[in-house]
Subunit: 321 residues, 2 copies
């Protein structure tokens, strides 16, 4: 279980400070928002992104400075902001087993609540007073938005190559993981090589993490997933499992025709993907990214964070059923 | 006419550089976005915000540095981003006489296009490499979002006091005007007193500007306004003209009842406001803000920007019919 990850235990006090910083933002928000933000902030996120930022920092300097806490809060708040807008775009009423803002408020309020969280995330990033960290943050925000737009505009383009999938999950997930570790490294005073190694570690863990997420969208069950199975395909999003599945089909056109034949037909295709060896092929790629992440750690100082970050890389590819 | 404003002529070359910077952002954007962004960027905005940033800078240093151009692009891009989300929230199909993104794209794409512009604005702000400017920028973004949320949550609360109206238009408009002038002053190397004077000037011009905008929503005609008359009241937004109108009513409850009686009844109330002396009362307040703006200039060095900024303050309160 994620709660038992050594890295989260090791960073418990610092993560508590991040939590407190985010909660205090929620409490200070305008009346009707405060409750909603506290709900959002407390929605059971894994806090992997702030943990990555803090772990990267702690390689070089301990305990976490106010700036390190600020950047950890910035990445998690940015992540929360993107979830709020994603849920609006998908029309999702439930995430992580809890109702979304979307299910409670009107469209306008949800757009603005997401914007407000972007603003607060930018404010946290600015608190670091580090121009490179702030520039990285702005750049990551741009990459995430661009990736979401690409995903939207390539919706229902069933025959996508792997060369469009990888940049898409970099934008969606790995970019923020990598900018979390890189920011921590910069604030901690890492050398250029160490900063690069931590960026690479974040990138590789992020890629592995998202591939497994995309596998779980097929293989998971709704209870542990906290959302319906097969959601990606229903939304017209092509991920690695579907790519491998379609590659192996003697008649891919017949599959594609079924995707245009309504909900029931899509559910059948989801079941076919689930039963195929496409999931295992995708999983092999996730494992390769996790292995690269572990190799990146060689360039970093020995100490209490080596083993927990190896464990975290292994964890990302253990979340399957 | 605005095109004849001396300040815009004086800054023509620098504004051209800002325009070029924004256009180049549009051109480099992901395929389907590029055209939409160029449309948005070229939608006939008055470029008052970048002009304010550049004028404030030029009091102390000329010609505009790359950082001054960047902050001017940041404020205008942030402004454009908020318009994109506003139009989505209002469901507006037309702004400044041109179709909105909203009228062409789905909800999801519009949300993300606005987010993308926020990201680019943050990137431009980060290019200044000035931590105070970046922090001011993040803070202004937060104030704008908070203001929009307040406006949304106070919708159709017809009996609002003037004490809720002023902070609302500060958040909506004056905060960005003031942060434009303040950012220019910081980058130009103003003293603390000069920075304050330029902040105040931007604040007062912004307040005057928004009050007149709110008057024009009643008194304007659709052709010059580029949007329907009475839009604020139809959206349930109480502005200064309606406040003064309601104050003068012997039976305000009768008016409020009509606002709940459908489109035709609202149009009648709009006509009543338009024919009352509420507009002139509101206009008097706008003139007072413009006068304060001119007084703020006393604290600034003599030179070619004094007279044009007086003219600009006068201009903000000359836009009535």
């Amino acid at each position: 279980m994620i709660q038992e990850l050594t890295i989260l235990n090791l960073l418990r006090d610092d993560l508590q400070r991040v939590e407190q910083k985010m909660r205090s933002m929620g409490e200070k928000a305008y009346g009707p928002l405060a409750e909603a933000f506290l709900h959002l902030i407390g929605s059971g996120g894994k806090r992997l992104r702030p943990a990555l930022a803090l772990a990267a920092y702690d390689f070089f300097a301990e305990p976490a400075s106010a700036e390190a806490i600020a950047v950890a809060a910035a990445v998690e708040t940015l992540h929360t902001a993107t979830l709020v807008h994603d849920d609006l775009i998908d029309g999702a009423a439930v995430r992580r087993g809890r109702t979304t803002l979307n299910a409670v408020w009107g469209k306008g309020a949800v757009v603005l609540a997401g914007d407000y969280l972007f603003a607060r995330a930018a404010g946290f990033a600015a608190e670091t007073e580090s121009v490179p960290v702030i520039q990285l943050f702005a750049d990551t925000l741009r990459i995430i938005c661009e990736g979401e737009l690409r995903q939207l505009f390539s919706s229902r383009q069933w025959r996508q190559s792997k060369e469009t999938y990888y940049p898409r999950i970099f934008a969606k997930t790995a970019s923020l993981f990598a900018s979390a570790t890189r920011s921590g490294a910069i604030l901690g005073g890492a050398s250029v090589e160490q900063e690069q190694a931590l960026y690479d570690y974040g990138y590789h863990v992020g890629m592995a993490f998202q591939i497994v997420d995309d596998i779980l969208d097929y293989s998971g069950d709704e209870a542990t997933l906290g959302k319906p199975v097969g959601g990606d395909l229903r939304q017209g999003i092509v991920t690695l499992p579907f790519y491998h599945f379609l590659q192996a089909q003697p008649e891919p056109e017949a599959i594609i025709a079924r995707l245009d034949a309504g909900e029931d037909a899509i559910a059948e295709v989801v079941a076919l993907v689930r039963g195929s060896d496409a999931l295992e092929l995708a999983f092999g790629e996730a494992r390769a990214f996790a292995a690269q992440a572990k190799a990146d750690l060689v360039h970093l100082p020995a100490g209490p964070f080596q083993a927990p970050l190896v464990e975290l890389a292994d964890f990302t590819v253990s979340r399957h059923v």
